[in-house]
């Protein structure tokens, strides 16, 4: 798919910002690269979906699911806690501009504008959260089985040792 120049600038800027945050969270080496690519992926998917789906809220949800899945997979591959990728890859989705407009409408605009913008920000965050929760719930039910097995194994080994 060919994006416009403006969209490319946005995607690259989002990825660079993601890289910056990854450094602030002391992410290093291969993980830094994987996290930055995750941020790039997140906004690319968001922009690409814009050609198909109009509602930004639905797009936020889908991107959140895709990005969370990416984080889970890469956490497994790189044997690192999944928070590392989850926190970083979702950075471009943090609704900074709509939060800013909410604050600025709170001061100098009509109540209606303020409320609708506040609601919009809340809806974006909720969509983002829902995506994370769906993936987290699925992955945790998978890991719960594994962790039970691991604990049983450890208990058996401990008994043998005594």
């Amino acid at each position: 798919m060919i994006f416009t120049l403006d969209e490319w600038i946005q995607i690259i800027a989002g990825a660079v910002g993601t890289f910056g945050f990854a450094v602030l969270f002391n992410v290093r080496g291969k993980r830094l690269l994987a996290g930055t690519i995750g941020g790039l992926l997140a906004w690319t998917v968001y922009v690409a979906l814009g050609y198909v789906i109009d509602s930004p809220i639905l797009r936020y949800f889908i991107v959140s699911v895709v990005t969370s899945t990416y984080s889970e997979v890469f956490a497994r591959v790189m044997k690192t806690p999944r928070t590392t990728f989850l926190l970083i890859c979702l950075i471009p989705l943090v609704p900074g501009s709509s939060l800013y407009y909410t604050m600025s409408y709170a001061l100098d605009s009509s109540m209606g504008d303020f409320l609708s913008k506040a609601l919009y920000t809340a809806e974006l965050s909720a969509a983002l959260a829902l995506g994370i929760v769906v993936v987290a719930a699925i992955s945790r039910s998978i890991t719960a089985v594994q962790s039970k097995k691991r604990k049983k194994l450890l208990a058996e080994q401990a008994k043998e040792n005594q």
Partner: protein, 252 residues
Amino acid sequence: MDEKMIQSFLRIAEKMIEAGAEVYRVEECLNYMCTAYGAVRTDAFVTTSNMTLNVEKPDGSIICASRRASLSGYDMECVDRFNSLVRYITKERPSLQVINQRIEEALVYNKYKVWQVVLCSLIIAGSFSMFFGSRDIVEIALSSAIGAVMEILNQLAKKAHMNGMMIRFCNSAIFSALAFAATKMGLVPSPDYIIMGNIMSLIPGCGITSAVRDLFTGDTFTGIIRTIECMLNAASMALGYIVVAYLFGGAI
């Protein structure tokens, strides 16, 4: 397994919480370690501010311990190192002496230098101004410069052990004031993009992500604590902006 070993396990858990690990992961780690050393039953309850651990030994005696912890900032390298240490401990079951030695070793690792962090804050502010729609070189440059200045002030404030909410309030007030001043001087058409770029590092986005995940995956207690923290942080940031915008005669 004795009290001293439990203390070492809690030290590991404490470090993980401080660096921003998920609570359920820390609970699991405690469970694994105690089980590996022969505990019949392990009850670990971990929140971001306190953790308790009850361990029943094969002979029926019980060890109880608790520890105060607090989140000191996200440090993924630290989480990862201690996570690996837990893997090693459960696999090899080393002696207490070795565990303590490994903990000390795990605490020595590379952190980004201050100038690298400042440079990244500069990049963050600039790139997010661009991300949100600014295409003006002067605007992006100003936003980056303000981002770098804010990070330097942040580092100083942290050294002075300033209260976190106060830091956010001042931070937001200072960059808003600079953005409004630049607009008044006619350098940029509006303060919007500069503020948007700089606001990104203040929005508790990561906090909200963690809070939601905790709330909906069973760690309700931690989820609530994190949610309230995020709301207070967001409010102190908004207040900083609103005070300044009001002084400058309303958002332009």
